[in-house]
Symmetry: C2
């Protein structure tokens, strides 16, 4: 965020006036739009209110803004000329969109984190910096291999990365696949988006877990799908529920996250895995298996994915490096029947013309490097350590008033801290206490639950974070 330069030769108020004038000229504040109040702007820029008063006065004097008592300060409308001039009604364009916005809680959390990077973050679904293989990636990049031509990528993704993934999936996930059955995406989000937008049509019915991944919910809504829920217990979904939904609603796809599920951390039991596949092949029903967390299994032995057990080609498998390496790489993939991969690759040309080759080269090299497996081992140890910290802190601070299942892998813990609390008030109080978490409702859950992502917080902050949450709950008289 811009702020005035106190060592500059120009006075603070003139710097501010010039800055605002530029924002007005470039359309950021279009004619007729409101400016922030003097008090608010002074707070944002870290100056006295009187400095902003002077800046506004300067802008009024050149006719750029107008202040009316009661209605604040607005950008002047363009001078009347022969033909009146109008700015498009941009807010209307933004509001008319048929795309559903992300839940306000997610935006509130994201804004809180941008405004205060010191917040203890147990809301963002990613790893902390010390868990990412930052050093390994920097070394790969510095090796400066002679770069091939940086043209548009192959529509299915960089071929050497697909080759490395075939080996990776075979070795680490027991999945036999081929390069031509793989589509590289920018992550699970893009994989889900492609499947939802390109293989389903408005009015189609689908089944998802309850609760479910928060950023997938608005996507289903925007696509006009009818969404039915599969409640989770400690062993995952009940396979027979899938058959019931098929009978009642002719669901066309089932979305599952069987390993250390987001947000609940649960593991689909092996017996249920086989049952899910039996039902899927009985009904010729596609299963979308989202599997970003399996390699974080703390004991180093993740269960076999549905895709590896699938003998009838019922499963599209979605993977990602966001939760086992770094989300900023933006590399994920799906393994699917070739007809699907080709269809989605063609569709993606219309959306973004594919990914940059640079991070794909980095990941392909990292996957085949001797550093990859040691990185995974370290990641598992550290995540287990953080899991232990968070469960100990919850027991200590909440004294039995927080119910949770101890996850055996992944980065999320799902916790029930009291029936029917006011999520908004608890979130706001927590943020004031320096701590941010994922309110249960953004995952489509009943009130009373919340998601604590111990993957993202630094280990040294977890105790303070959980204490801040307990203080916020006490302040709201939740106990």
């Amino acid at each position: 965020m811009w702020s005035p330069d106190r060592n500059s030769g120009t006075t603070l108020y003139m710097q501010i006036a010039e800055h605002l004038a530029q924002k007005i000229r470039c359309g950021e504040f279009p004619p007729g739009s409101g400016l922030p109040s003097e008090r608010k702007l002074a707070g944002q820029l870290g100056v006295n209110r009187s400095t902003v008063v002077l800046a506004f006065s300067e802008l009024r004097s050149i006719g750029l803004i107008e202040s009316r008592s009661g209605s604040g300060t607005r950008v002047s409308l363009a001078d009347s000329e022969e033909t009146p001039k109008h700015t498009p009604n941009w807010s209307q364009y933004a509001d008319d969109s048929s795309m559903v916005r992300n839940p306000p809680f997610l935006r509130k959390i994201s804004e809180a984190l941008q405004q205060n990077p010191e917040l203890i973050d147990m809301a963002s679904g990613q790893l902390s910096g010390d868990l990412a293989p930052t050093q390994e990636i920097a070394e790969i990049m510095s090796q400066n291999r002679p770069m091939s031509y940086l043209g548009y990528d192959n529509p299915q993704g960089y071929p050497p990365l697909r080759e490395a993934l075939v080996r990776y999936l075979n070795r680490h996930r027991g999945i036999d696949t081929t390069e031509s059955s793989l589509l590289i995406t920018s992550g699970s989000q893009q994989s889900l988006y492609l499947i939802i937008r390109c293989l389903l049509s408005p009015g189609d019915a689908v089944a998802i877990e309850d609760p479910s991944y928060c950023f997938s919910l608005p996507m289903f809504q925007t696509a006009g799908l009818r969404v039915f829920r599969l409640p989770l217990d400690q062993h995952g979904v009940q396979p027979e529920d899938i058959r019931q939904l098929y009978k009642k609603h002719r669901i066309k796809m089932v979305f599952l996250n069987p390993n250390y599920q987001n947000p609940t951390g649960t593991l689909l039991s092996e017996e249920r895995r086989r049952k899910v596949l039996d039902i899927a092949s009985e009904l010729a029903l596609p299963i979308i298996e989202d599997d970003p967390y399996s390699l974080t299994a703390y004991d180093g032995e993740p269960p076999a994915p549905l895709k590896a057990l699938d003998t009838t080609g019922s499963v599209i498998y979605i993977g990602s490096f966001s939760k086992i390496a770094a989300s900023g790489l933006r590399i994920g993939w799906m393994a699917a029947p070739r007809a699907i991969v080709e269809r989605l690759a063609d569709a993606r040309q219309q959306m973004d013309f594919g990914l940059s080759v640079i991070p794909q080269q980095v990941v392909a090299t990292f996957l085949d490097s001797p550093q990859f497996v040691p990185h995974l081992e370290r990641l598992r140890r550290e995540l287990q350590f953080k899991r232990d910290m968070v469960t100990a802190a919850l027991r200590r601070e909440f004294q039995g008033r927080a119910e949770f299942l101890e996850p055996r892998g992944g980065i999320h813990l799902w916790c029930k801290i009291g029936a029917d609390y006011n999520e908004n008030r608890l979130l706001e109080q927590s943020i004031r206490n320096g701590f941010v978490f994922g309110p249960g409702s953004v995952y489509g859950s009943e009130p009373g639950c919340l998601r604590l992502t111990f993957g993202r917080a630094n280990a040294g902050d977890i105790d303070r974070g959980i204490a801040a949450l307990r203080e916020a709950a006490e302040k709201l008289d939740l106990f």
Copy 2:
């Protein structure tokens, strides 16, 4: 593409059988699906047909495939058990999609280029390898700056890149903007996709140039928009046509590519630029200005973009590094009112969760480096040289039977070589002659025209390429 290893200890036919078995097991060829014919597969793998016959026989012997006279070879259906098992009808899922496929010509061209990398490519809208700053980018990457944490990016894009772009747009395009008015995208394709999907609704009317960018046309169709056309002459669109379309159809947006337009290479005249802006502000009509080519102006003086002349905030400006650096970077941006940037940044979270930070860091460094301006100067000289080669070759080979406008910037030349030729036959004959071009119809144009992208072909191949085109035209008796 996989091929058997002649130096392996395993016989060729067993390698092929094993390879096919793997593809069947991983669902690439699901139960019941057809395999390629023995003859076709032999051609693809570069082996004798008898080798494939042996491989098929092997697979039949283990019950994996079935051959019936007259209906070719199919993957066996899964063994009948108590409950019959079914594979989802994946082809149906792929076909039912509400997303319009890209034009068959584009897929034909892309397949031809993948099968034969020696084809002289005047079809792909990008630069040749020697024009990209490959060395400069490799050097930036090798400098190995200590990497900040590779987490999810800011929803609007990497802040240092936005800061560098503010300077770049001011210096090179005369555009005053701020970081908060910029959204980094993966290129113009994603910028257009976001605008079309998030700011417009099915049934809305828009105006586009005639002819227009080929990959935008299916996007408009998929979004259910009513698309009206603004015919181009040598000075671009006629501004009054915009007013007429607004009166008749209440168009909600106008999409323009004013500088060295794709595909025609034309430049919107300065007088018409001002007129377009007057009409836009009179009607409060948003203009989407796509400007990827302006910095290739051969005389080094690109005209001022609409965005720089826009005093009412009517223009969303779309830029990209694909045509002035390398398309494989996948970095573009838009400058727009803040309400729009925030809306689109939120929507993109549902699509792909933003870009990798790695190429953004590379581009930010390159933009501020002393190598950037010399790179642009070299690019302009070389593109002008290629333009001269292609126009000379057209005159020499076609002897007045090819009509074209000489572009003064950009990478495309639009050429009319005869009324009403059969595009499919000319493209196929050209490909047989070793040359590929963009058939006019994929840009929505009347027959008889084609796009020659001299930016992509190597200078040393241009003469041979145009000769191959002329030979194809003669073979089809077009003259």
